[in-house]
Symmetry: D2
Subunit: 201 residues, 4 copies
């Protein structure tokens, strides 16, 4: 079983990512159950705007999507800006659009029988809405969203510290993240044991 | 296997409900696979505002939630008003909040190992957002959201006809609704065969 | 100049409303500028579902809408449930829908030349999204939304205290609320001095 | 009086932009009232991710923001992807974040006394939600949002033609776009005549 985290921070490596720090709680829990995990920081790649599989001109999305399709578990991790997902996370959803027309040997959208979860951090309010946007986006494409498959951190009201600046609320975010890992893995296993067939067309 | 549709139209019976008409495409497909289906039109009941299991004073939510917990498949069906879910659908999500603290014998939220899908109709644009709001809401509470577990109908731009006023686009909405039924049933069966355990606390 | 607050808490009077408590910061600032203010707690009235001006059968919306149209400044105040506006706030937006077809003597939608602002409180994350939903809803109907015309309070991550349970963050929410009052009043005055004409039809 | 359209299509020039085509209805109406208008297609520029005024390394946002601040009227124009605003539009909102801390000589956020409107086109449903996201984002930063300051086009349900592929619904979108132009101009003039002062701090 493989899990991939697409870290949609605005910052390229090696800048510290609060979003990655919280996502590591989820991947740590998955690893302790034998899942192999990998992080991809999207801002380190040249992901072109567009809605095809390969936008050319050095577009590095194809190598990312290959990793995504190698994983049964997808974790979209995003910071909050203006109460919304990052432009990098939005770019990822947009590029997923091309997967709608990709099917496997049995005619199923390629995202079928995979699960998706979400990690959201901010220095301000907005996590529930980010989760709504991401859940709807990946559900459109073909991922299954397990129950309570997310964790988040922020400390309102108004702008405040970043996740790594304080211990406030870490316990809740970590417990919730471990539950998310458990739920992602459980549904991934259920779909592996009893796969969703191609829908009637 | 049982499915329940909570029809969140603003209109009480016996007024014709466009939302029900489209939802019947989904339930028809489920019935042909042997699933028992039931419709509850929320506007026919006195569902009080609040976030407890029973708000008293003639609150009829308890009898609805009992039906919801008798079904492995939940379908939330809502009209679109101002691009958003109806106040009746919002009331349902709000009342679901109390389910967060209800657990089964194994310590799992009672909504675990159930699936949810969505039917949205409008005389104007807004379906994707309605699906996002509903998916996030039920995911918070414990339902699993299968891939492409929705159908919708509207005909933009601007205000236009209702679903039952025209044949425009019915084919897409019906095909999509039958696919939603297939995906809901497949994931419900997968969770029945391989249930999600209680998350670590 | 008159301002009306529609308090969309789920609780009827005389229960304490955290949302009202924060809204009073905004109305206090308005009053110090000579604005007359009034609160209406929607849960104290029987507001029927529907999208007409009067749904009959004891519908008390008509008396509320009369107050709304007597005020140049509207403040929608809502708690957060599941990261979203309350069902009561959603009901208010829905009932506003009927105002779209009401025009004044010069053919303008009746909400024109009025301003709207927002107050949001929660024991969990979701304020930005609530503001987005409310702003889009009232903008559709004809209110103008001044800059930074909101305040909110919550303390993430996860469920936490209510506004009145703690002093955490009150300073930010109060400063922001006073700025909202200033911006609402400034734009209301600008529209009074230079009214928006009827749009070309 | 100046208006600027930020066209957030995913396509670089000279590809045909449906979003631009509809936005030209709004700018045409503004021009007939003597407003000078300019289009900037964001995808033609290298706008880096980040939340500062200048992200360096060839970041072309500074020249765009200069044009934005030279205009009393801002029009954000976006296509719909997965029911949501484009990643390019999201990038624009994100870069606006830095304007929060920029103030004029009187201590007002630089976006104060400017108005913003929205143009949304899609081959599928999602316009109301795009308008909600954009309105909340620019309102946070300091723009005023006039009533009915938008137009949109799409033709549901499901994927369908683009705006320029059909005449369906153009009349509604054009009438609505001309009304948006009228409302944007009216509120811009009102704020010019009676400017919003700096809020109390």
């Amino acid at each position: 079983m493989n899990a991939i985290v697409l870290n949609c921070t605005l910052k390229s490596s090696p800048a510290v990512s609060n979003t990655e720090a919280l996502a590591r709680v989820v991947t740590g829990a998955l690893e302790s159950e034998g899942v192999e995990t990998e992080f991809v920081r999207i801002a380190d790649f040249d992901v072109k705007p567009g809605v095809t599989m390969d936008e050319g001109n050095g577009d590095q999305w194809p190598q990312i999507v290959e990793k995504v399709l190698g994983a049964e578990i997808l974790i979209l991790a995003t910071p909050i800006w203006l109460g919304q997902i990052s432009s990098v996370a939005k770019r990822v959803l947009e590029r997923f659009d091309a997967l709608l027309s990709e099917t496997d040997d049995e005619g199923r959208p390629v995202a079928f029988n995979r699960v998706a979860g979400f990690v959201v951090t901010g220095n301000e309010d907005g996590a529930h809405h980010c989760i709504a946007e991401l859940a709807q986006g990946v559900g459109d494409i073909g991922w299954t969203v397990p129950p309570q498959a997310f964790t988040y951190w922020n400390m309102g009201p108004g702008p405040g510290p970043d996740y790594l600046d304080t211990d406030h609320g870490h316990e809740w975010s970590e417990t919730t993240g471990k539950a998310a890992a458990s739920n992602l893995l459980a549904v991934a296993r259920a779909l592996q044991a009893t796969p969703i067939p191609a829908p009637p067309s």
